[in-house]
């Protein structure tokens, strides 16, 4: 949940000032034994709930992109966020998707890059 500007901190950088919205996903992964048993009942092992945070970034200046680019490019991140199930801020190791930047004209501190979306996914199950 996004409670204040510092509800999402990735690699020590608060994402709050740069995003327009954040979507918090709690994805269940199931084991290979999932299916139906002889009674027809669905059965299977829950491997865990893996949180995912998808952020919509606003238009960013040249220096803002330069600040955030190393985070976007990293293979692993340390992400802190407020988890409603845990009812507290928790830290998790995440991996991320690719990011793309669209420029419609020259970019500087006044003329910005277009907004874009970027997500981080936990490498381990929550809890």
């Amino acid at each position: 949940m996004f409670l204040n500007e510092n509800s999402i901190i990735i690699n020590g950088v608060s994402m709050g000032p740069y995003i327009l919205e954040a979507k918090f996903g709690y994805h269940k992964l199931w084991g290979p034994d999932s299916g139906r048993n002889l009674a027809g009942t669905q059965t299977g092992t829950l491997l865990g709930t893996f949180p995912k945070i998808t952020m919509q970034f606003r238009k960013l200046t040249k220096s803002e992109v330069e600040l955030l680019a190393p985070i976007f490019d990293s293979a692993r991140q340390t992400t802190q966020y407020y988890d409603p199930y845990e009812k507290s801020n928790i830290s998790m190791t995440t991996y991320s998707n690719d990011w793309e930047l669209t420029d419609k004209y020259f970019v500087d501190e006044n003329d910005k890059n277009e907004g874009f979306s970027w997500a981080v996914i936990s490498t381990r199950k929550r809890g």
Binding site: G31, P32, D33, G35, N37, L38, G44, T45, L46, L47
Partner: protein
């Protein structure tokens, strides 16, 4: 059953169950706990049977290497109300560690402490006679195990072993390990000898009726098979080596042969002497009524049954009573369990030749005393061959006599074939001889026809009643009359090689080339030397020279 709660049983088949594996071990005072982060897969399994010893195995795929010889404990957990409830699979000894370079993990094979029995039987500090119970305890002490039933009474616990059975008279080992001795003791005690999961002690485990029932919720929707029912057991048979000298006892004792459902114990050294019948009653009482269904099924996971647990499987209206003898639990990211129980080895016994006690009969018996390296045989009497047997023999002779004659004929034919093969040429060989190539130096040396002969003397044309015959050879042409006198010879007078008739006529011209005949007709001219010629001249004869 392994210690577990009702919630464990209820939660394990549920969709969304959460599982955990835990391996704990201590090395040099440092305790290490491995969980799902370090363990890629864990597979505890065993293959057992009634009247046998069982060694349980644990296969681990781990991201952490565990040293050889480490004693570890494996627990399997199911999440119940946010906490994991673990059931204990017991202790195992790391036996083999292999690095898997492709996955950068270690494949670790472990066995329970029955592993200590997997060595050749050795001399024990035993004073005979010794009771079965004390004998088992002595072996356990020797192997570093604790005997759980040391103070218990069990089947045949007080029967005695009167002498060393597993070493020869010089104290050398025979072909036994302590594990195979445990197998024999399991048969003597009518149980299954194994390591207890909770306390690591060796125990004699009997069938434990859990009165527990599982249903379709615990079974996968594939590979669920139930076969025939084994039992109910009412007879025990003991036999010696080579399935000989059987004795049996039944409940009731006068049970008809066709109603006997038996378990047979074969070639057990402890129950091998003539007092072996004394062991049967307690075994029979223990196993009497045993029955279960053959089964082979895949489960979504049960996990809490132990070896020798008796349980029920309810599928629809069918209820199958089963005994846990073979089990494999495969814990990876999910859970699968494979359970099967085989049929006992078929027993086809002709009870006509089976008594209930060796000492009551005068039957011939043979005891193979492996430790003493001898065979003790007692023959009660030599009986005369019966008339029936003799008649049978005569019938056999009559039956097989024609066959014997036929065999003799076949022998004769075989010899003839061999002779034929030795004395004749094949088609190919004949072709080679005919075209001059020859076979092993054999070539055509003479051709004889109705009109002549071609041999080493030359080519002679000759017909019956013909006035002349002609021979062409290396010295020339010789035409002879019927008296073998030369009529015409054109050739070389070879005094060494010419036939006598030529020499008689032309011996004066030895070593000369001549043409010799009685009459010469010259139709045109006759040249003599280089200067003379005789030929017709007008109506006369002209002799010309130059």
């Amino acid at each position: 059953m392994k210690t577990h709660t009702r919630e464990f049983k209820e939660n394990i088949p549920l969709f969304g169950r959460e599982l955990e594996s835990k391996i704990t071990y201590t090395i040099d005072g440092v305790t290490t706990e491995l969980g799902s982060e370090e363990l890629n897969s864990v597979t505890p399994h065993y293959e057992g049977a009634i009247l046998k010893s069982v060694m349980k195995q644990l296969d681990v795929d781990s991201n952490v290497e565990i040293p050889l010889g480490t004693i570890l404990t494996y627990e399997f957990g199911v999440k119940i109300n946010d906490e994991y409830e673990y059931i204990n699979y017991g202790n195992y000894v790391v036996y083999r560690v292999e690095k898997k370079e492709d996955t950068n993990s270690w494949q670790i094979t472990c066995y329970d402490k029955m592993l200590y029995a997997m060595k050749n039987y050795e001399a024990l500090n035993v004073t005979y006679p010794i009771t079965i119970r004390d004998f088992i305890n002595t072996i356990c002490t020797h192997l570093g195990l604790t005997f759980k039933n040391l103070n218990d009474t069990f089947v045949n616990y007080d029967k005695e072993i009167t002498k060393e059975l597993y070493l020869d008279s010089d104290g050398n080992p025979l072909d036994y390990t302590f594990r195979t001795v445990f197998d024999e003791l399991a048969a003597v005690t009518a149980g299954t000898i194994c390591i207890n999961e909770e306390d690591d002690e060796l125990e004699i485990r009997y069938i434990n009726d859990t009165a527990d029932t599982i249903d379709e919720e615990y079974l996968k929707d594939v590979n669920v098979n139930f076969g025939e029912k084994v039992g109910p057991i009412n007879t025990i048979i003991l036999s010696r080596s080579a399935d000989s000298d059987k004795i049996s006892q039944s409940i009731p004792s006068d049970l008809a042969d066709e109603d006997k459902i038996a378990i047979q114990i074969t070639d057990n050294q402890i129950m091998n002497d003539n007092n072996r019948a004394d062991f049967i009653p307690e075994i029979l009482n223990k196993l009497y009524g045993l029955e279960y269904y053959i089964n082979d099924f895949s489960s979504t996971g049960i996990c809490y049954y132990n070896l020798c647990d008796k349980y029920n499987v309810k599928i629809g209206e069918n209820i199958y009573s089963c005994i846990m003898f073979n089990d494999e639990v495969n814990v990876t990211q999910g859970l699968e369990e494979f359970v099967y129980t085989d049929l006992l080895e078929e027993n086809q016994t002709n009870y006509d030749y089976v008594s209930d006690d060796d000492r009551k009969t005068n039957q011939t018996y043979i005891i193979a005393k492996k430790n003493e390296g001898e065979i003790e045989a007692v023959v009660s009497s030599v009986r005369e061959i019966s008339t029936k047997q003799n008649n049978d023999y005569q019938e056999l002779l009559k039956k097989f006599q024609p066959i014997d004659s036929t065999l003799n004929k076949i022998d004769s034919i075989e010899r003839s074939v061999i002779q034929l093969q030795t004395d004749t040429y094949t088609k190919t060989e004949i072709q080679q001889i005919a075209n001059g190539t020859g076979v092993d130096g054999t070539r055509v040396t003479a051709v004889i026809t109705t009109s002549g002969t071609f041999d080493e003397d030359g080519m002679t044309y000759e017909k019956s009643n013909a006035p002349t015959k002609s021979t062409i050879n290396e010295i020339g042409i010789n035409v002879k009359d019927q008296n073998d006198s030369s009529l015409l010879f054109a050739g070389y007078v070879d005094t060494n090689n010419a036939p006598q008739d030529l020499l008689n006529k032309y011996g004066d011209y030895a070593n000369q080339t001549i043409v010799g005949t009685d009459n010469i007709i010259v139709n045109n001219y006759l040249n003599i030397g280089t200067h003379s010629r005789i030929q017709d001249y007008g109506n006369g004869t002209g002799i010309f020279w130059r």
